[in-house]
Amino acid sequence: MNQLAHTEVQGLYSAYVDHELPAPELERFVQHLEECEGCMEGLEKFEATVEAVRGIPLERAPKSFARQVMRRVKHRNRREAASRPFLDGAVHIPAGAIIPIIVAAAIALLIHALQ
């Protein structure tokens, strides 16, 4: 069975911690560690680090969190409703028809003003 080099062993720390080393590789990994003080110390430090991270408790959201979310949802819904076109859902007049009406109204006003 081939011996693993130091760098190969160090590259397997994560897989070992996650229990993802297949049996043959695990055997060579263990064999190396039994004879190598440096890699054994490295593994201990690596494992302690992962354990420390895993031991951190979750940061909990404040109690008012859900209420604040619902408030923001309502605010967004109101804003979206307000930004909808004025005639949305009511009478739909094509833009092409509005322009001649505006022009005609302007001409009528001008004529009225000149009289």
Binding site: T49, A52, V53, G55, I56, E59, R60, F65, R72
Partner: protein, 218 residues
């Protein structure tokens, strides 16, 4: 700052060899029902969704941004975005995976924005009041001796020093306890890349916590 929730598209849940347990089946059915209610715009169902996922989303945001105030804002933004995009969820992945993906996108966007603004960190998670530290030093319970507040603050400060991609992987795997399949779906990275980057992140953390400078790279 808008984040396109549609970019948090889903990937099918990978087929695993083992049969789901009774608890997993029940959980999947509850999630299906919740989703059906959400699609009917049921306000109580949405409140339930927030209640179920708020702590994990807030934790991810808090650790990614290392700033409670920003994290609170982003976490709320995540749920508001989810509310507006529930119709886009096709149910092909777990709801929690989709939520994490939306949260990840929001965090990375905010980090980019904050990077541009060079905002000073005023309320970092790693900050522990001196009095509190002293109290923990003088009265350590067995659990606190193992991983006291000071140690937690040191670990969080070390996580905050990692590049964003590595930080995300450490949070998802070692704090949130997600599987590699879930992380692959959230990050859109191949499993091999996830594993090698996580290994680099853990090595860097061990070096930071051991007093050495981390190696550069993501």
């Amino acid at each position: 700052m808008a984040v396109d929730v549609a970019t948090a598209d889903e990937h099918p849940v990978p087929v695993t060899g083992s049969e789901p347990t009774e608890a997993e089946k029940a959980s999947a059915l509850r999630e299906r029902l919740l989703l059906a209610r959400l699609k009917r715009r049921d306000a109580r169902a949405f409140a339930e969704l927030v209640r179920l996922h708020q702590d994990r989303v807030f934790d991810l945001c808090a650790r990614m941004l290392n700033d409670r105030e920003e994290a609170l804002d982003v976490a709320q933004e995540v749920f508001v975005a989810l509310h507006g995009s529930l119709s886009q969820f096709r149910g092909e992945s777990r709801l929690s995976t989709w939520i994490f993906k939306v949260a990840k996108n929001h965090c990375l966007n905010r980090l980019k924005y904050l990077g541009r603004r060079q905002r000073g960190k005023t309320d970092e998670l790693g900050d522990v009041p001196e009095g509190e530290l002293a109290a923990h030093q003088s009265l350590p319970s067995p659990q606190e001796a193992l991983l006291g507040k000071e140690q937690q603050a040191r670990v969080q400060a070390a996580i905050a020093q990692l590049p964003e991609e590595q930080r995300l992987l450490v949070i998802l795997r070692d704090i949130e306890g997600l599987t590699y399949d879930e992380i692959v779906q959230i990050t859109d990275q191949p499993e091999g890349t996830v594993k090698s980057r996580l290994h680099r992140a853990r090595t860097a953390l061990a070096e930071i916590l051991g007093g050495k400078e981390p190696e550069d790279g993501s």
